[in-house]
Each structure stands twice: as C-alpha cells, then as structure tokens.
C-alpha cells in the first residue's frame, strides 16, 4: 500500500509539497484551517508573486538568491500541468529611482551587480522597455531573467488540479495538535506515515524562533496604465513594487513591519504605497482599488527558510518574503531528499532533530 502523508496548511508551500509527494506515488491529505470562503485571506493570496532572485539581493542574502535561481524553471513545469493557462510572465524586472534618491539606489543595487552576470543585469533606457515611464525616468536597471505569476489566479487552479489527482484538501479543518505521525482535529486523532507542517505563520506558537513580519499591499485596476513588467522603486524608506496582473490590474506592495498584527491596513501604509505608485505613473491617480491586502510572512531569525526533520514529522517554514520564489524549490528539495538524491544547499536549508 502507498504511504500516506498529512500536510497541514494549504498555502503555496503545502500545495507544492502535495504535488511533489503524489508524483512519488504517495497518498496526501491536506488540512486547511480556513474554509474555502475564507481561504483567500491566507498569506499566499496576499503575496506579490514575484519570481525575482536578483531583485531580492537588494535585501536578502546569497542563499535566497542561489535557491531562487531555479524557481522560474520549476514554475514553468508547474504551470504546464494546469488545465488552463494562467498569468505567468518572464519578461524581467525594472529597477527605478527618482533622481534625488540615486545614492540610495546605488547602495541598494550594489549586491545585484556583485552576483549578476552582464547578461543578467543591464542598464537600459527606460523608454525602450516601458514607454509610459520614459518621461519620469531616464535610466533604469533591467533584470531580464526574472518573472512574475498571478498567485491569486494560480492557487485555486493548482488546488483543484491536485484534487483531481486524488489529493484530499479538507478546508475549514483546524488542526488542534500535530506530532510525529499524528494529526489531531476536533474529530479525533489520525495516524499518518508522515506529518508535514506547512502552516507558515500559523505555526508561530510551537516553532522556536519563528516570527511574523506583516506586509500590506493594494490590488488595483488601472486602465490608464500600461506597464509590462514588475517595477521596483528604490526609496530610502520604502521599497515599493508594482506588479502587472491580467486585465489592467496591478499589485502594489508591500510594507514590511516587524509585527504579526492582523489589523486592517493603516492610512500611513496606504499613503506610502499609493503615493509611491503615483510618483511612478500619474495614471494610477485614476485607478480604482480592488482589494486591500495584508499577510503575515513567517520568518526565522536569519530570514532564511528551513526544512526540519524528525522521525514522522517535517516542517517547512520561514519563507519570509520569498514564498513564491522559494516554495517550488523547497518542495523539490524535499522530494529529492526523500529519494536520497543530492540536494543543492541542503546543508543550509535542512535541519535534523534526532529523537
């Protein structure tokens, strides 16, 4: 009989882990605390969906960059399996700054030049790539090997495809306790061959060192704006990015606040994000706000992800602001580990608890 895994959490990490396990012939049950209605409140839905290992070097360390390099190829593989095409682009990222923030821009992009090859990091005339931004910005930094994905379109499609492959997703099923081999819900305890904790910030109470970093973002509809690729505006105090989505929609994010507060988005954050977007393109002034998003990113002390193993229990967490960049990479690393294949950077992402 095939092995049976319980995955706790149907965010992007849980779903991609399920996908890898069924490819190995496992049976998989996914527990999701939110009902299908509330599911869109989870952190994975609030993400920007950028697949941008070079851009992230602005604040992240080398490990995130190296792990992230294989992300786009994995996403291509995932998207190819979906029943219908989704919004997934690989036309790079454009870094911009206003004239007076140039010193900060140079500071923030130093590490991108350090790691990127000439073909991966290029100075460009902004009007050549994004004609509508050419009036306000002359030069920009172009990172051609990056992509972005519409996570809000992707997640429901991926979930239903997995269900079609036999994965059981139990929405609205809160897990009261999880232990090696055991998942306990209000209905009782169930035994599995392995329990995989993909709860993200939901695991904060029983995961040492995990903390929440709040992010806020806006989803807007801007028919007067035509931007083709994610634009990152470097500012000394806020790092704002504008990510195009299908049908003239744009995602404008994101704040980064050392707090796990679930309270509604503040005026201060809104002003920061929206005025930064308005400074990039005046057409945003006429845009309508579709949704105001917030999510709590799960992060370890070094802001790097970790897969911890003990007999019967695995935890994959700490993806921080890199959920969509890193989740396919970590799911694949986990699968390779199960098959005894070598795992790149395994020494840095795996942790083994003897017991």
């Amino acid at each position: 009989m095939s092995k049976h895994a319980a995955i706790v959490g149907a965010g992007i990490m849980g779903l991609l882990t399920a996908r890898e396990l069924i490819s190995l012939g496992w049976r998989v049950t996914v527990y999701e605390k939110y009902s299908e209605m509330e599911y869109r409140n989870s952190t994975s839905f609030a993400a920007g969906g950028m697949l941008a290992p070079f851009s992230e070097l602005e604040s992240a360390d080398e490990l995130i960059f190296k792990l992230g390099l294989s992300s786009i190829d994995l996403w291509r593989e995932i998207c190819d399996e979906l029943p219908s095409p989704i919004f997934f682009k690989t036309n790079g990222t454009l870094f911009l700054s206003h004239q007076r923030d140039k010193p900060h821009f140079e500071n923030a992009t130093r590490r991108i030049f350090q790691y990127g090859k000439e073909s991966e990091v290029q100075w460009v005339k902004v009007s050549d790539l994004e004609p509508e931004l050419g009036d306000s910005f002359e030069q920009g930094l172009y990172l051609p090997k990056e992509g972005h994905i519409d996570n809000r379109q992707l997640i429901p499609l991926l979930a239903s495809r997995l269900e079609g492959e036999g994965v059981r997703i139990l929405y609205g099923e809160s897990v009261l306790d999880l232990r090696p081999y055991v998942v306990e819900t209000a209905k009782g305890s169930l035994l599995y061959d392995i329990v995989i904790d993909c709860r993200g910030i939901g695991a904060v109470e029983d995961t040492a060192d995990l903390r929440g970093v709040r992010g806020e973002a806006f989803l807007i509809h801007a028919p007067e704006v035509n931007i083709q690729r994610p634009v990152r505006l470097m500012h000394p105090r806020y790092a704002v990015y504008i990510v195009p989505r299908a049908n003239d929609h744009y995602y404008i994010g994101a704040t980064s606040i050392e707090s796990a507060s679930e309270s509604p988005v503040t005026i201060r954050s809104s002003l920061e994000l929206l005025s930064a977007a308005y400074s990039v393109h005046k057409g945003f002034g006429e845009a309508s706000i579709v949704e105001i998003l917030h999510g709590i990113r799960p992060a370890f002390r070094n802001n790097a992800p970790k897969i911890s193993f003990e007999a019967g229990l695995v935890s994959i967490n700490g993806l921080y602001r890199h959920g969509f960049l890193l989740s396919p990479v970590l799911a694949r690393a986990f699968k390779n580990f199960l098959q005894d294949f070598p795992v790149e950077h395994g020494d840095q992402i795996f942790s083994f608890i003897r017991g």
């Binding site: 604040s59 903390r211 105090r237 050392e258 707090s259 796990a260 507060s261 201060r268 002390r301 802001n303």
Partner: protein, 262 residues
C-alpha cells in the same frame, strides 16, 4: 566607564535596530559594535505587545539597554502617546524623542520637540531629544528638563557626517554640563571619531551599519572609531596651524632667514 542617565556603561556608541537584513545580522552587529544602548522604533512595530514579541526578545537577548524612540511622530500628542506605549512595553522611562517637522527632509520640529520634552520630563521620563545643531533649541530643551541632548550631524540617513562643525563645537562649549550625543547623519567611522574628538559624549547611528555591505564588519569599525575619538579627546588634541612646524629643529639656520621667504 561613563554615565548615561544614571547608568554606568562602557561604550559610547548607541545603535539603531532598523533596516538590517535579518534579526540575526542585527544581533551580530550589536555584539560587534560593543554598544550597550540600542534604539527601537515603536511606531511601526505595532502597539500590542504580542504582535512583535519575538522581535523584541531578540533585542533583549543582546543585553543592551533599550532606548525606545518616537520615530515617525509628527505632533506633540503622537510623540507623548508613543512614549507612554513604549514605557509600558519596554518597562523603561527612557525615551528618544523624535518629532518630525518635514517628512521629506526628516528635519525635527524644534517647537513641538521642546513642548513634548516638557510634558514627558514632568511625567518622569528620561528624555533623549533629537534636535538640530541650533544652540537656542538645545538651551530650551535643557530648560525643559532634559539632561541629554542629541543634535544631528546631518539629516537622518544621509551619511554626510558633521555638516556644521562650528555649531556643534559651540554647543559643546556652551552646554558643558549636559550629555551631548550626535544623532543622525553619521556615514563613516571617521565621522563618529570626529564627533568624539570634539568632546561629544557619544554618537547614535543606524543606517551606516545596517545598510553596509557587511554590517557586522562595519559595526566593529565603528566601535574602534568611537574609542579612538574619545581617547583622542581625553588626550588633548594639538591645535592646527596654518603653516608647517618642523618637529625637529632646523640646525644652523636662524629663524629670520625663513621669515624672509614668506
């Protein structure tokens, strides 16, 4: 050893905790800097204690005294409310008072700062006000009951160093009884050294370390710079002169032969 608000400490470097790549790097940087006082911005960390508990645990693990600040406040009321919140959360009467007058330049609002300082001092706070290099504002803050004044070297985050050295020198000379800390604008260890050489009691900085390529290495560089600057001040710097003065006598030439050549 020196005394900062009745506490005996060694280090003359106060360090901010924002914008590090990760809490791990932050902790390592604090350790490398030798700093015993760290500032924490409360405004953005959200009011309820539980929300940021773990981040604050990381800060307290450093063993440093915590100096909460009112960064991002624009009015007296906001600053006072934030100070009250900080007192409850961090269990300290220390507060770095920052009332911003202009969001673009992050210049402090001297009028609101003085007013907020008066209120907070009367409520028993030890107020560390962030201000410009203006002597009169500093005097008003002293009159409001502040024992510590923190003039800027240059605007926050600009890294320009000490932009108005004469004003800083004047402040040091006219307010010998106060603890003076240069806060903001320090970009390089040499700037920090310079502030200490001028007789300032300490420097407070954040960006110069947090955004360095190697924050931990830079934190250590600042530790050395601050000790060097202080040691230089205590040792009595020589006075600069407009012309060369040979340190060994020029044998055989009467001095008037040189004078003729001038």
């Amino acid at each position: 050893m020196w005394t900062l608000a009745d506490r005996k400490i060694e280090s003359r470097l106060l360090i901010g905790t924002a914008r590090y790549p990760s809490p791990q790097v932050l902790q390592d940087s604090i350790a490398a800097s030798g700093s015993q006082v760290i500032t924490v911005s409360l405004r953005r960390e959200s009011a309820q204690e539980n929300n940021s508990k773990r981040f604050w645990e990381y800060l307290s693990e450093s063993g440093a005294h915590i100096l909460p600040n009112t960064a991002g406040c624009h009015s007296v009321k906001e600053a006072v409310v934030t100070a009250h919140m900080a007192r409850d959360i961090f269990n300290t009467n220390w507060i770095k008072l920052e009332v911003i007058g202009n969001d673009d330049t992050l210049q402090p609002d001297p009028f609101a700062t003085v007013e907020a300082a008066r209120i907070l001092v009367s409520e028993g706070f030890e107020v560390f006000p962030y201000t410009t290099d203006d002597l009169i504002v500093a005097e008003k803050l002293r009159d409001a009951g502040c024992r510590i004044i923190m003039p800027w070297g240059a605007p926050i985050g600009s890294g320009q160093g000490l932009r108005n050295i004469e004003a800083l020198k004047t402040m040091r000379k006219r307010l010998p009884e106060l603890t003076l800390i240069v806060d903001a604008g320090i970009g390089a260890p040499s700037h920090a050294s310079h502030a200490l050489e001028l007789g300032f009691d300490a420097v407070l900085l954040n960006t110069a370390v947090a955004l360095a390529q190697d924050p931990v290495g830079m934190a250590r560089a600042f530790q050395y710079a601050v000790s060097a600057g202080r040691r230089a001040y205590e040792s009595g710097l020589m006075q600069a002169s407009s012309r060369a003065q040979a340190s060994s006598p020029t044998v055989g030439l009467p001095f008037w032969h040189h004078e003729q050549n001038l």
